[in-house]
Symmetry: C2
Subunit: 183 residues, 2 copies
């Protein structure tokens, strides 16, 4: 049971967004720019950063939903996503994405852990300033979301099918239409 | 030197906000609601949550500016703010604020660290659901800001007077007018 009285039947951050529309609006605007906006990183690459940071922070809800979204975007690739979030260096992904996931993991530990060498590695593999910036900001944003969701003990469904269904809706319609309260 | 090419002469998060206006807008909207919006917690109480979490995360820029803002709001109370951020349980503040700062510290560690007992303590001292919600969200938001600022190695001025001057501007004019790029 959540630590505060939240609207019934909504899991994870969705209950919190419904509870406080004034903070929900900027949170939804931010996730929309970071994960769905036009970008040189694919939506799946950005969702993998979100899922990896959430796994590191042990946030079941965020890890499950963003992992499910990435899997859906990659063609129901559940096993690949599990491999990437658990052992990115050995996963069949680009050297650039490996370097960005490394920066994201360091960011989740502490901003002070990210080194010039970490950034140089990403740049050697073709990462741009904007891609490095957004990797750090996506990682930092999910450090917010994970703490928000778990710090108030929101409802976390345990059935993987729940997240697969929800991922389909988000991939088809975007975050804004499915999660944001009406303005 | 920052890890990416940022506008000259802007410290901490301000350089990042100027670099990426699309993410700056929701970040500014969120900080404005959380720290400056109408609330049953005073602006100084909310700034103290921000400064305490930033101190815990060892983010010099965020800790310095939000500590300076709280000190200004409390009547140039630099010593009191230093006491609150280093040892809140022994500081001359209300039992409710102590309990909320305790929740904020747990949130910064991990959302999973916040217990029902932590929340019950705050409630016993008069905290409302909204105050508990916003304490967790402010703490989580500064876990974002601290990682964003330090993860990209932004410029951190060392002169305390820099932060005092800036704090005066923010207290007099608000965040939005002083930090947000024009829409």
């Amino acid at each position: 049971m959540a630590y505060i009285e939240l609207p019934d039947g909504l899991p994870g951050i969705r209950a919190l967004l419904a509870y406080r529309p004034d903070t929900a609006r900027p949170l939804n605007d931010l996730v929309d720019v970071l994960l769905r906006g036009p970008h040189t990183l694919t939506p799946a690459e950005r969702e993998l950063i979100a899922a990896s940071v959430s796994a590191r922070n042990d946030c079941t809800y965020c890890q499950s939903i963003h992992g499910a979204i990435a899997a859906r975007q990659l063609g129901d690739a559940d096993d690949l996503v599990a491999q990437i979030t658990s052992d990115p260096e050995r996963a069949p992904i680009s050297p650039k994405l490996k370097a960005l996931l490394h920066i994201a993991g360091k960011t989740a530990e502490s901003g002070r852990c990210v080194t010039a060498e970490d950034v140089a590695r990403a740049r050697e593999h073709g990462a741009t300033d904007l891609e490095i910036h957004d990797t750090v900001l996506i990682a930092a944003f999910f450090c917010l979301c994970n703490r928000y969701v778990d710090g108030l003990a929101t409802w976390t469904p345990s059935d993987p099918d729940f997240y697969r269904q929800r991922a389909k809706t988000i991939v088809d319609n975007g975050y804004t239409l499915t999660a944001i309260p009406a303005r």
